[in-house]
C-alpha cells in the first residue's frame, strides 16, 4: 500500500468521489478545504449531485474539465466497488480510500490487478490540523 503524502496526488489534483450534499456536507467541505490549503485542486463528484452545494459538484467523470490521476473515495463498500470500473476506465492511477470500513480485500485486490496504487486514510490526518494530526500520528500517517 502506498504512503499517503503530497506526492500521492499526482499533478496536485484529486477527484473527490462521493462528495456529500446531505448531512455530511460540512465534513466533505472540511476535507475539500484541507486539500485546497495544501495546494491540491479538488474536483468534487457525486452522481446524485442534487444537493444544496456551496461549490461546483460534478455528476460524473465525463463532466470534468480534466480527469486527475488520483481519486479520493468516500463511499461505502458496495458503492466503492461499483465506482471502481469507471475510475479505471478513465485513467485513475491512484486511489485513496477514506477508511478500512469503506473497503475490503477484494476491492484492494481489484485495484492491484489493474495496477492502481491504493492507500487508506482520512485526508485530514495528513492535511488537517490539531486532533486530526494526532489521530494521524497514532495511525502511522505522518
Amino acid at each position: 500500500m502506498a504512503v499517503l503524502n503530497k506526492e500521492f496526488f499526482d499533478g496536485n489534483e484529486v477527484l473527490f468521489v462521493g462528495y456529500s450534499g446531505g448531512k455530511n456536507q460540512s465534513f466533505c467541505k472540511m476535507i475539500h478545504d484541507a486539500f485546497a490549503r495544501n495546494g491540491i485542486k479538488v474536483y468534487p463528484m457525486n452522481n446524485k449531485a442534487e444537493g444544496n452545494y456551496d461549490l461546483k459538484v460534478y455528476k460524473n467523470i465525463s463532466e470534468l474539465p480534466k480527469v486527475p490521476k488520483t481519486a479520493y473515495v468516500l463511499l461505502n463498500k458496495e458503492n466503492a466497488r461499483k465506482e471502481l470500473k469507471e475510475l479505471f476506465e478513465n485513467g485513475i492511477k491512484r486511489i485513496l480510500f477514506h477508511s478500512k470500513s469503506n473497503i475490503d480485500d477484494s476491492i484492494l485486490a481489484e485495484c492491484a490487478k489493474m495496477g492502481v496504487e491504493t492507500s487508506v486514510a482520512c485526508p485530514m490526518m495528513k492535511f488537517g490540523s490539531g486532533i486530526h494530526r494526532i489521530h494521524g500520528f497514532f495511525t502511522g500517517v505522518r
Binding site: K23, Q25, S26, K29, H32, D33, A36, R37, N38, G39, N52, Y53, D54, L55, K56, P65, K66
Partner: protein, 593 residues
C-alpha cells in the same frame, strides 16, 4: 451554486451556552466548598443530561449534536434544587429534557424553559427547599459575569428584575440582601435571557417580565413559584409570537462591518488587461454634444460596474424620459462592502476623469441635484459637484439606501429609481463613461479587488472582461486555497475552472470556506433580525423556508430583501440565512408574475 458572505462571526450558540454553563458553576462554588461531594453530584447530573440529550438527538437527527444546552439545563436545575437528593435531581433533569425540550422538537423549538419545567414538576411532586443567593464574596464573580447575558433579552430581563424589586418594595421587604437572595440576578440574567423561550418584543418582554418577577415574589418567591411564573411568561411569549404574530418592529440595522483589509495598507495595482488596442485613433474630442455623448456610451457598451451590470444607456434614457419635474444624479463612491477597495483606489487616483465623466452625464440631463456620495471621513479632491458624506455602515451603498441618505426619499421595493428621475451610477461606471466618450474606448475592462484573506492582503487589478479567472490568479502572488468570486465579500461563490471575469465580478478572493455548519439548533437569538438593513423578520421567513412553506413566507414580504448577506454573517447557528431569503424572494417573485 450557493452564494454566501466569506466573512462570518466567530461566535456560535455553543460558545455562549458554554460561557453560561461556566457562570453556573460559579454559582455552585460556595456549596461545593461547603460540601465537596456536591461537585460529583453536579457532574453526575450533567453527565446524565448529556447522555439523554445525546441519545434523543441521535435518534432524531442520526448524527451527534452538541449537548451543551442540555448541560446548561442541568446546571440551572442543580442550582435551584441544591438541597435535594441526587436521584430527584436526576429525575428532574430527565423530565426537563424530555418534557421541557425534546417533546417539542428539540433545542430551539421548545416554547418553555426546560430547566424551569423540571423544577416545577419535581417541586410539585417532591417539594423543594428555597435557595438563597446570599451576596457573599464567593458569589460576586457569578453575579458580575451573569450581567452580560442581559443583552440577549434586555427588556424581559430588566423587566423581571424591576418587577421583583417593585414587589419587594411593596411588601416592605426590599433590601440588597433580600433582592439578591431571591435570585434577581440569577433569574434575570440567566433564565429570562433564554432567547428560545422569551420574546424579544420590548413591550411584551418588559411588561411580561415585570409581572412574572413581581408576581412570583408576591406569591412566596420559592423556586417552584418562580418556575411556574417563568413558564407562564414563556407560554404567553409563545402564543404572542406564534399565533398573534406580534410584529417585530425593528428599525433597519445601521451597523458598520469592519473592512477586511485596512484602507491604510499598501495597495498594489496590477494592470492585467491586454493593451488598449481598441482605443480609437481620434481619441480626444472637444465639447461633445448630447447626442454624441449618448451615442458613444451606447456604442462602447457601457454598463453598470457596481455589480448590477445594467446597460447605462438604458438607465440614462429612462431618466431622460421620466415624467418627473426634478431629476437627480447620485454618483456612488461609497464602496460599503468590507472586502472591496478598488472604488476607493479609483477615487484617489482618477478623480479628474471621474469629474469629467460626471459633467458629460450632466450635459445629457438637466439635474436638479448632482451628488457624489462617499463614506464619512473620505477626503475627496476638488470637483464641481456636491460631496455627500453618508454614514459608514453596510449596506449603505445599496441603491435605495443611498437615495434615502442623499435625497431623503424612501422608495418602495417596486419603485425603479430611474423611472423616478433618479440616476445612480457607480464611480467606476462614470469613469467608464469618461473613457467611452473622451477616449472612444469600449467598456471591456474593469477594476476589481483581489483579496488574499489568508495573508490579509489585497490588490487592485485592471482586468479585461471575459478573462479566465485562472489567468488572473496565476499572475498574482496569492496563497493556495479555495478561490471565490463575487460582487463583494458579502456575496461570494466558489469559483469553478471555467469561470471568467464578467460584469458581476468585483472580487476574487482566496480563502478557506467560511464555516456554515448549518446547525439544527437555532436559539432564536434574533441577531439576523437585528442586523437586517431592511428591518425584515429574517427569523420567521427562514424558518418557513426550512419547513418548505415559502407560500406562507410571502406575507413577510421577502421581496424586500436586498441579499446583503448580513443575516448569514451574524447567525450564531452558522446558517446561510441569505440563501433561505433568496428562496423566499424567488417564490414571492414567481407568485407576482
Amino acid at each position: 451554486m450557493n452564494t454566501f458572505p466569506l466573512i462570518r462571526t466567530k461566535w456560535t450558540n455553543e460558545h455562549f451556552m458554554t460561557a453560561a454553563f461556566l457562570v453556573l458553576m460559579l454559582y455552585m462554588l460556595p456549596s461545593w466548598i461547603q460540601k465537596p461531594i456536591r461537585i460529583l453530584e453536579f457532574f453526575a447530573v450533567v453527565l446524565v443530561s448529556l447522555i439523554i440529550d445525546g441519545v434523543v438527538n441521535f435518534i432524531r437527527y442520526r448524527r451527534p449534536i452538541c449537548g451543551v444546552s442540555a448541560a446548561l439545563t442541568a446546571g440551572i436545575l442543580c442550582i435551584l434544587t441544591l438541597e435535594t437528593v441526587l436521584w430527584i435531581q436526576l429525575v428532574g433533569v430527565a423530565v426537563s429534557l424530555l418534557i421541557g425540550k425534546h417533546i417539542w422538537g428539540g433545542t430551539g423549538k421548545n416554547p418553555i424553559n426546560p430547566a424551569m419545567t423540571g423544577v416545577l414538576i419535581i417541586g410539585l411532586i417532591f417539594g423543594l427547599k428555597a435557595v438563597s443567593y446570599n451576596p457573599q464574596l464567593l458569589l460576586i464573580p457569578a453575579f458580575l459575569l451573569s450581567i452580560p447575558f442581559i443583552l440577549f433579552r434586555p427588556y424581559a430581563s430588566l423587566g423581571f428584575m424591576a418587577g421583583m424589586a417593585a414587589a419587594l418594595v411593596l411588601q416592605q421587604k426590599f433590601g440588597f440582601d433580600s433582592y439578591l437572595g431571591y435570585g434577581a440576578i440569577f433569574y434575570g440574567c440567566l433564565v429570562l435571557t433564554d432567547p428560545v423561550t422569551v420574546s424579544p418584543n420590548p413591550v411584551l418582554g418588559a411588561v411580561g417580565g415585570a409581572l412574572a418577577g413581581g408576581g412570583a415574589i408576591v406569591l412566596t418567591g420559592s423556586p417552584v413559584v418562580m418556575a411556574a411564573s417563568v413558564l407562564l411568561f414563556n407560554v404567553i411569549c409563545f402564543i404572542a409570537d406564534k399565533y398573534l404574530e406580534i410584529p417585530q418592529k425593528k428599525a433597519p440595522s445601521r451597523k458598520a462591518v469592519k473592512k477586511i483589509v485596512t484602507d491604510g495598507s499598501k495597495v498594489l495595482f496590477y494592470d492585467l488587461s491586454l493593451p488598449d488596442s481598441e482605443v480609437a485613433a481620434v481619441a480626444e474630442i472637444t465639447l461633445p454634444d448630447r447626442n454624441e455623448i449618448l451615442s458613444r456610451i451606447e456604442s462602447n457598451e457601457v454598463t453598470g460596474l457596481g455589480g448590477a451590470a445594467f446597460p447605462t444607456i438604458q438607465k440614462i434614457w429612462t431618466v431622460l424620459e421620466a415624467n418627473e419635474e426634478k431629476k437627480y444624479f447620485i454618483i456612488n463612491g461609497v464602496e460599503c462592502d468590507p472586502g472591496l477597495m478598488h472604488d476607493h483606489w479609483l477615487i484617489n487616483r482618477h478623480m479628474e476623469e471621474i469629474c469629467t465623466g460626471i459633467n458629460l452625464v450632466r450635459q445629457c440631463i438637466d439635474f436638479e441635484i448632482t451628488a457624489l456620495a462617499v463614506k464619512e471621513g473620505t477626503e475627496i479632491k476638488a470637483c464641481n459637484v456636491n460631496v455627500v458624506n453618508v454614514p459608514d455602515y453596510y449596506p449603505v451603498g445599496a441603491e435605495r439606501e443611498l437615495i434615502r441618505h442623499v435625497l431623503g426619499k424612501d422608495l418602495t421595493n417596486t419603485d425603479i429609481p430611474a423611472e423616478k428621475g433618479i440616476l445612480v451610477l457607480n464611480v467606476q461606471t462614470v469613469f467608464s463613461i469618461y473613457e467611452a466618450v473622451v477616449k472612444n474606448k469600449r467598456s471591456d475592462t474593469k477594476l476589481i479587488t483581489i483579496s488574499d484573506l489568508k495573508a490579509k492582503t489585497a490588490y487592485v487589478a485592471k482586468v479585461r472582461l471575459g478573462m479566465p479567472v485562472q489567468n488572473v490568479i496565476e499572475k498574482l502572488p496569492l496563497s493556495s486555497g479555495n478561490i471565490f468570486l463575487g460582487g463583494g465579500v458579502m456575496q461570494s461563490w466558489n469559483s469553478s475552472d471555467d469561470d471568467v471575469i464578467d460584469k458581476n465580478v468585483n472580487l476574487i478572493a482566496v480563502a478557506d470556506f467560511p464555516r456554515y455548519k448549518e446547525s439544527v439548533q437555532c436559539s432564536g437569538c434574533g441577531f439576523c433580525v437585528d442586523n437586517c438593513p431592511m428591518g425584515m423578520d429574517v427569523k420567521r421567513i427562514s424558518q418557513l423556508v426550512d419547513c418548505q412553506k415559502t407560500e406562507e413566507a410571502k406575507k413577510y414580504q421577502p421581496d424586500r430583501c436586498i441579499q446583503c448577506g448580513n443575516c448569514s454573517r451574524v447567525c450564531l447557528a452558522g446558517r446561510n440565512l441569505a440563501l433561505r431569503m433568496k428562496k423566499a424572494k424567488a417564490a414571492a417573485a414567481k407568485a407576482y408574475t
